[in-house]
Amino acid sequence: MSAKTEIINELKARFGEGVSEQATLDRIPTVWTSAEHLVEVLKYLKTGARAPYRTLYDLTAIDERVRKNRPGQAQGDFTAVYHLLSMERNSDIRVKVALSGDKLSAPSITGLWKSANWYEREVWDMFGIEFEGHPDLRRILMPHTWKGHPLRKDHPARRTEMGRFEFTEEKLAEEERALKFRPEDWGMKANGNGTEFMFLNMGPHHTGTHGIMRVLLELDGEEIADSALDIGYHHRGAEKMGERQTWHTFIPYTDRVDYLGGVLNNFPYVLAVETLAGIEVPDRAKVIRVMLAELFRIMSHLVWFGTFAQDLGQVSPVFFTFNDRERAFGIIEAICGFRMHPAWFRIGGVAADLPKGWDTLVRSFTKYMPARLKEYEKVVLQNSIIKGRTKGLGKLSLDDAIEWGVTGPNLRACGIPWDLRKKRPYSGYDQFDFEIPTATGGDSYDRVWVRFQEMWQSLRIVEQCLNNMPQGQYKSDHALAAPPRKEKTMKDIETLIDHFLDVSWGPVMPAGEAAFAAEGAKGNNSYYLVSDGGTGSYRTRIRTPSFPHLQTVPGLCRGLEVADLVAILGSIDFVMGDVDR
């Protein structure tokens, strides 16, 4: 805890009354400041402090208007939350600003972090908080014609609360007006350098964009003079649903955020809930979780690997990797009964114990994969056309990567071994023997290489799980573990009461805040949960890695060709569900 107080004391010494501390249930130091001090405080944290917080990890807000339990916090209708990360320090800090009044506004920090651009747009879109000085404050996830701000507490969450929807002629005309493309809206211009640019609309339905995303290209011949991304087509209101579901019933929704990641999404969510509840998970459950998570990491990487090769015109690898993935799905199906979205983790453990014969399945997979990976290395990684197209392409420097909030394999390709499984071991990752592959170039090829090597490391972890699966319970006996273990319900009254309440209402988590970050397949994935002492979350913030990753694309592809854009998009490995949530 000393690291936690250290930075707070440092801030207090510098800003005096300008900052105040808040206690949270996680280990992230949290301070309040005012809108006028905000930029100064953040600037100090980014550049002034020793081992500075160089990454804007997340930026979000909370509608505080109906929250009951918030002792010692600054009063205000809304709170803007700035989550910074220092990789040097291996520590986070949360800076909060209370906002009130009819015109909610905070100063924009796009001058400090370029990555704040999309985050501030999202907060504006979802909460209606204005950021003064933002260059382009428009909706980002919701349609441009949307009325209201969805994550406000007074915005309906259900269709039935919204009143009758009618698609009138006027509405049609309005929607069509909103669809009209004007280059100025996207910060692009029709002419430049003596040429008239051609605007190419890539997407929302395009094979190269891996999901429904629109890339607006300003082309000079085939050269990309400028580009802009239009996201939000895949927005499903996952955060809003988090406020509507109970702690337990939200788990299946998390699966679908990064829809290739399966239980890798459950991981940060259940860990955050367990932090709120103070649940200690039994060893067996921990190892089962790690094993499933690593299998999903391999599967996610296999899909990406095949589609990446496909993006470069190589048609076969995608079939090979999907076949391998199918084998891994066989294991997942045998253990969980589901395939892509097993929703298998539970608060306090996993849904059920491993079935008989699981070890045979896993063993045959770990025996089968190495030969395949070796083949892929020859076919794809050592292919000279692939090398020629990706080496030196879309270079991201380490400084830029940190600045943009890039995490996961994309960051490790820039030369820093930042992996939460090693840096902040959770669920017993410190007990496993594995390495963190890194590269130094930061180009497309390095990103591909790092991810490919990760599959080897994940296989190693799965093998260790297989050989060292501990005996014991698969779920904690804690009263808040959900659904509670049934073995003792009919034998003692306490457990019966817990069981009845947990199953009928869902567990009631203590009021407070906690965030947990885990290493997903694509980068750091974290859930920031605010509990108001109810059966469901008061605010669920999902910080996904693909969101900031995608934001770097226009910078990476400037001056390159359309074909290069596809190679860059393929190497970044994003999933639109993970971007739009």
């Binding site: 051609m198 190419l200 609309n201 395009h206 094979t207 190269g208 085939e222 090769a309 496909q310 993006d311 470069l312 015109g313 190589q314 048609v315 076969s316 079939f319 090979f320 076949n323 076919v379 292919n383 056309i385 692939i386 020629g388 197209r389 060709e561 359309v562 074909a563 290069d564 596809v566």
Partner: protein, 317 residues
């Protein structure tokens, strides 16, 4: 009367067998790709899925043949016809066996080169007339690629022509009685094969289509049988290039025991499969890389080949 009917029957027979063959190729490519990609491919309609082609044909004929209102209607309709007829014309000079060819032209190779140049028009016109940005990019790519690969395609054949002293394809086959030309003209074979790949715009030279980048390139806006004609045109192109490789470098119909036509078909089939295998194996280069490969490596190589062949002929003479 006799003088008209025999060639007419020959033309019809060759035309029918070529189009059937290229349709059958669609099935073969899908099955072979499936074999190499750990899957089944079409295996439901008829024995081994052979009737899949028939089903596809019926479907494609029954499809709405949509001409986009924003397109240049006349040229839009013309383009697929240009591609298909250019390839079919080129087949006129291919000697399948002694006596089995449409016409025995003394300028056979030149005629083939001329027809394959016409092919470009189909792509450029399709890309232009569609009036769509993806098609335009595809068309421009196609034009640039085919123009530059055409240059050394022609040059690579000059070695063979110098050896035989004729442009007549029948003459070239007959000159290979003793030694097939892939031995003395091996570099030319490689260069011609690569140029042929580019000519048929197959992976790794499928940049005019490049579905991951340009949706479907120059034929993005095409549907129904017009799309089908591009498709069949592409397969006919593969057959054509394979047939020419057989004719120019592998002794055409020459071979022991089996009848000449069978030899010709077997050899052609082998190269067709090589085309398909390449598609299963290779990724696609970037456009700039493709151009510099053509101009900086292939062109000098084919010039060197002409030079070396000439020098050898002079020395031996």
């Amino acid at each position: 009367m006799q003088g008209v009917i025999t060639p007419l029957i020959m033309i019809i027979a060759i035309l029918v067998s070529l189009t059937t063959m290229s349709a059958g190729l669609i099935w073969m490519e899908r099955r072979l790709l499936a074999l190499w990609q750990d899957r089944y491919g079409p295996n439901r309609v008829g024995p081994f899925g052979l009737l899949q082609v028939v089903a596809d044909m019926l479907k494609i004929f029954a499809k709405e043949d949509w001409v986009p209102p924003f397109s240049d209607r006349f040229v839009f309709i013309l383009a697929p016809a240009v591609i298909m007829s250019a390839v079919l014309f080129a087949f006129a000079v291919v000697p399948f066996a002694p006596g089995i060819s449409v016409i025995d032209l003394d300028i056979g190779i030149l005629f083939f080169l001329a027809m394959s140049s016409l092919n470009i028009y189909g792509i450029v016109l399709a890309g232009w007339a569609s009036n769509s940005k993806y098609s335009l990019l595809g068309g421009v790519r196609g034009a640039a690629q085919m123009l530059s690969y055409e240059v050394f395609m022609g040059l690579s054949l000059m070695g063979v022509v110098m050896l035989v002293g004729t442009f007549n394809l029948r003459g070239i086959v007959e000159a290979q009685q003793g030694l097939w030309f892939f031995v003395p003209q091996f570099p030319a074979l490689v260069i011609f094969f690569i140029a042929g790949l580019a000519e048929t715009h197959r992976i790794p030279f499928d940049l005019p289509e490049a579905e991951n980048e340009l949706v479907a390139g120059y034929h993005t806006e095409y549907s129904g049988m017009k799309f089908g004609m591009f498709f069949v045109g592409e397969y006919l192109g593969i057959v054509l290039i394979s047939a020419l490789i057989t004719t120019l470098f592998f002794g055409g119909w020459l071979g022991p025991v089996l009848p000449p036509v069978i030899w010709f078909l077997l050899k052609t089939m082998f190269f067709i499969m090589l085309f398909i295998l390449l598609r299963a194996a290779l990724p696609r280069p970037r456009f700039g890389q493709l151009m510099s490969f053509g101009w900086k490596l292939m062109l000098p190589l084919s010039l060197l080949n002409v030079l070396a062949t000439g020098a050898a002929l002079l020395l031996l003479a």
